[in-house]
């Protein structure tokens, strides 16, 4: 039956069969299945994640029906984990769905080994103390963790894991690798074989811009003692030179050449991001190194040797105005160079594997080829323990956020989300959350509210003080709003937070795209949400 593939067609176009296979192997654990947790899993179950385990110790109450789509009338009084799990299962029978009716806090306290079987743990609505403990457990067990919180009109998402390496980062915009600033002999020869002054207009307008640029760059260099255009004036002059060689107005190849003319004078060598990766301490590999770092070590050697300072050539070229023949030949020249670079890297990978005492063939050709193709876009993500961030945030950043208008709500919410947990630890309830579902404003609740506001303010300022920001304050409005929220988990906010969680899970599991770094603070007031790098 063709159904499974067809069902996933729209996402396979994004992460491909490899990504889908990784997703189908993953086992995800969810802590607390309120709307934030339910929505996170909903998106993953639809996408065909391997298995889910829902952990929640609570029973379904009336109020839960108002914000969670994975419950209905018949769920009242039953185990929330069981009901949510059953509704999630309905979405996709290819997913193995399990539930554990136990409080996450108890599991974290009593049974830390429970978590080590999962690929990834999603914790939702955990207060600070439990979250920090869980973070320690997951880090120890080398299990990926995503912490999420929905709180009134705010919320947060934070990834926590030791290290995540991305080969297929698939950035939206990335400069193609044409090497026009450093053509190799075969490419030069190809350019030389074409007469760009051909009298045949049909041929003239079908010479690929790569050839036009190479030839005219050479012409330029011959009259500028071997240099390529560098100053703004020279670059303009070079464009004029290109323009002067047009023989008709409709020559798109020349228009493309003018637009791409900067490519002949881009700096040679690798970008700073890649430099940082090959200089990383992990690139000094031993038998315990991961395949990724073994390949980085080989890449480093390649750049220093055969690459002459450059990464392996990607090998693909963008579409450009050209005759079919020129284009296909050009494509072959780029592919041949990429293949040669790959073979050199592969040889180095095999040698390194031998050197560190591993089976030389253990990393497949396909992996190495894929690595080479993406060498310029490698990404390494590392995350501090949340506790470390809480105890010693990057002060410079913190100060910057506190003084930046664009960040004022986000950093305020960041502090206040911690403050409400301390409040809860002190008073056994969230600020603005009163007994007996007291919602309607009256004298009594207002007095209680005022008291909560001043208590929360004291706690928040205390946190800022502990962080060494004594002089900073938070706006009264925001503290007021935080108390008004009363710990509410609104469905829309939960759907946004849950959506982001599932997106990050997919990135982590498929090892494609770059997961977010830092703490994402959702700002549901004016949608000026921010990522805080603390």
């Amino acid at each position: 039956m063709a159904e499974p593939r067809t069902k996933y067609d729209r996402q396979l176009r994004i992460w491909g069969d490899q990504g889908q296979a990784a997703l189908e192997k993953a086992s995800i654990c969810l802590l607390n299945c309120g709307p934030t947790g339910s929505e996170s899993l909903k998106n993953l179950v639809l996408g065909g994640v391997g298995s889910i385990t829902v952990v929640d110790g609570s029973k379904v109450e009336e109020g839960d029906l108002g914000n969670n789509f994975m419950l209905d009338e018949s769920s009242l009084g039953q185990s929330k984990a069981k009901c949510v799990c059953a509704f999630l299962q309905e979405l996709n029978d290819a997913v193995k769905a399990k539930f554990v009716e136990e409080s996450p806090e108890a599991l974290i306290e009593m049974n830390s080994s429970f978590f080590s079987d999962f690929t990834l743990v999603i914790s939702t609505q955990l207060v600070e103390t439990s979250m920090l403990k869980l973070d320690g457990i997951c880090r120890q067990a080398n299990v990926m963790l995503i912490c999420a919180r929905s709180y009134g009109l705010t919320g947060l998402v934070r990834i926590s894991l030791k290290e995540h390496n991305v080969i297929e980062s698939k950035p939206d915009h990335f400069l193609d690798d044409l090497r026009l600033n450093r053509p190799w002999p075969e490419l030069k020869m190809f350019a030389e074989s074409i007469d760009i002054n051909t009298p045949d207009p049909a041929v003239h307008k079908h010479i690929p811009y790569v050839v036009i640029l190479l030839k005219l760059a050479e012409e330029w260099a011959s009259s500028y003692s071997g240099c390529s255009p560098s100053t703004r004036e020279e670059k303009k002059e070079f464009k004029d030179l290109l323009k002067s060689r047009m023989t008709a107005f409709d020559e798109n190849n020349y228009k493309e050449a003018i637009d791409a003319s900067f490519k002949i004078s881009t700096p040679q060598g690798i970008n700073s991001n890649l430099r940082q990766i090959i200089d990383d301490i992990s690139a000094e590999v031993d038998s315990s190194s991961s395949d990724f770092w073994v390949m980085v070590a080989a890449l480093k050697e390649f750049i220093a040797n055969e690459g002459e300072g450059e990464a392996p050539l990607e090998g693909s070229i963008p579409d450009m105005t050209s005759s079919t023949e020129y284009y296909i030949n050009l494509q072959k020249i780029y592919q041949a160079k990429a293949e040669a670079d790959f073979l050199a890297v592969e040889q180095r990978v095999r040698n390194i594997l031998k050197r560190i005492g591993r089976e030389p063939a253990v990393i497949t050709k396909t992996s190495i080829r894929n690595f080479c193709r993406n060498a310029r876009k490698l990404t390494v993500c590392r995350y501090r323990l949340i506790e470390e961030e809480f105890n010693s945030p990057i002060l410079l950043e913190l100060q910057k956020y506190l003084n930046d208008e664009d960040y004022s709500y986000a950093i305020g919410f960041y502090i206040l989300l911690r403050a409400v947990d301390r409040f809860a630890a002190n008073y056994n309830r969230f600020p603005g959350l009163f007994d007996g579902h007291l919602q309607i404003p009256n004298i009594l609740s207002y007095r209680g509210m005022d008291e909560d506001i001043s208590r929360l303010k004291t706690i928040a300022l205390g946190i800022l003080g502990d962080l060494g920001c004594n002089s900073s304050t938070l706006t009264e409005d925001l503290i007021n709003e935080m108390c008004r929220f009363g710990g509410a988990e609104l469905h829309t906010v939960a759907a946004i937070i849950g959506g982001i969680v599932s997106q990050e899970v997919i990135k982590l599991i498929t090892k494609q795209f770059v997961p977010m770094s830092g703490t994402f603070i959702f700002n549901g007031i004016d949608h000026k949400s921010q990522l805080l790098a603390l």
Partner: protein
């Protein structure tokens, strides 16, 4: 709280926002149980589209205190919807999306009523759209957005100072996604830019030049489009290509493959062929969930004032890390769709007459078209059509229409506009500016002298 009812505790979380006063709220926010109850009872929301965004929107509205919803969608459920359109199951394939989506949400959530409309958006009269408090757009086409925007903005009326009448403003929230990226926006016609004001945000789709396809193919897409756009027509005289017909798709794929092999071009696969021919936009559950929820949250804020609203366009990009950005676009005051247009006061006695040849021949300033010719904002020299509420009052070409509308010329504009006190007509024609002739379109806000006050009084009486 003795009167604590089931339904009240069901809105346990939402009540925090709707019942309590706040510091960062809308100007007209009046917290209290009445607000929550009014939202349930009076707020009517139309969800346009029951696809990836529409399914989410229906769920989000139903769980955000709304109980009167309608949904319109002309499509039937397909297998490829199932990775994100969570209200549908495999056994639903082939059924109308609107109907299944409405049923599923009503089954799950007590108290919510959803009326499905399995039809095209153009099939509904404008009146249908006027009854909603807000319209939420979950669409994937520019044309459909443009259509709804035009209808919603057609209700908009301005006072004599050019400020929109509150009760004629039809708010919209609009979402869109593509892979890991998306946008959510708020449209308050007359205040924030309408869809047309910022149409440039949607760049036109890039099409391959036919000569590239025919003569110098270089990529797999070129081979596919050759088979699809050129070869199909040559080989199937008269038979239209249908992308939903697997045999047609298979034919295009086979032909594209042949052509690719001929030229030594790699990369033609069946899946890629489908992608190119149907212009498939990749779609995933998470982005749809995020964008829809942002739209619904804004809708709740617009209708209740329970917090500040987004000003007015949020972009979301989850591809590399996570970036969101709120941008405040400004409306185009000359927008033909939401702008106030050119105000023209006139007597009820004015006719459309003498617009016809020989032109211009007005000596009588009491003629509508002549008024336009004199207005410094318009300077019309030769009208080609006059349209009111989508009906041609006059059209110069084609001859058939000219003949049909000719009799209107002798009628009073006041009568042609059903004796309204004010209304908007769209006029196309040639304008002379700096001695140059340009063809233009104007939005003319006609106000009949001596009528406006009386009508406003009547409205007040009716509302009391």
């Amino acid at each position: 709280m003795a009167e604590l009812t089931d339904s009240r505790s069901r809105s346990r979380d939402l009540d925090k926002l709707l019942l309590r006063p706040g510091n960062i709220v809308g100007k007209l926010f009046e917290p209290g149980p009445e607000l929550r109850d009014d939202l349930r009872e009076y707020a009517r929301v139309l969800v346009v589209g029951a696809g990836g965004l529409g399914c989410e929107l229906l769920k989000d509205f139903a769980l955000s205190g709304f109980q009167k919803l309608e949904v319109i969608d002309m499509d039937r459920i397909e297998v490829t919807n199932l990775n994100r359109q969570f209200l549908f199951r495999l056994q639903d394939v082939g059924k109308p999306k609107a109907e299944v989506a409405a049923m599923r949400v009503m089954e799950r959530i007590n108290g919510v009523e959803i009326v499905p409309h399995f039809c095209r958006i153009e099939d509904k009269e404008d009146d249908f759209y006027s009854k909603f408090s807000l319209i939420a757009l979950g669409l994937d086409s520019i044309e459909a957005r443009s259509y709804i925007n035009r209808v919603a903005c057609s209700f908009l009326e301005y006072d004599s100072e050019g400020n929109p009448f509150e009760e004629t403003v039809k708010p919209m929230v609009d979402g869109g996604t593509e892979g890991f990226k998306g946008h959510a926006r708020v449209i308050l016609p007359g205040t924030t830019p309408c869809f047309e004001c910022t149409i440039w945000l949607f760049p036109p789709q890039v099409k391959f030049p036919l000569c590239t396809l025919a003569e110098t193919p270089r990529t797999a897409a070129h081979c596919i489009e050759y088979a699809h756009l050129i070869k199909w027509g040559e080989m199937h005289s008269g038979k239209a290509f249908d992308a939903d017909e697997p045999e047609h798709m298979q034919w295009v794929y086979t032909e594209a493959l042949k052509r690719a092999e001929l030229f030594g071009i790699p990369g033609v696969t069946y899946s890629f062929t489908q992608g190119v021919v149907k212009n498939i936009i990749p779609a995933i559950a998470s982005t749809n969930a995020i964008i829809s929820a942002a739209c619904t949250l804004e809708a709740l804020k617009i209708l209740t004032g329970c917090s500040k609203t987004l000003s007015n366009y949020m972009t979301y990009n989850g591809l590399e890390g996570l970036h969101t950005k709120a941008t405040e676009f400004v409306k185009d005051k000359d927008c033909l769709i939401c702008g106030s247009g050119v105000l023209l006061e006139m007597d009820t006695s004015i006719t459309l007459q003498k617009i016809l040849l020989p032109y211009p021949c007005f000596t009588n300033s009491a003629q509508f078209m002549n008024l336009l010719g004199e207005d410094p904002m318009v300077l019309l020299s030769k009208p080609t059509s006059v349209v009111y509420m989508g009906n041609n009052l006059y059209k110069m070409v084609p001859p058939v229409l000219e003949e049909m509308t000719r009799s209107n010329l002798s009628l009073r504009l006041f009568d042609l506009m059903d004796k309204v006190s004010m209304g908007v007509v769209h006029v196309t024609g040639t304008a002379i500016k700096n001695d140059k002739k340009n063809s233009s379109l104007w939005k003319i806000r006609v106000v009949f002298k001596g009528m406006v006050d009386g009508v406003i009084d009547m409205d007040l009486a009716g509302g009391a």
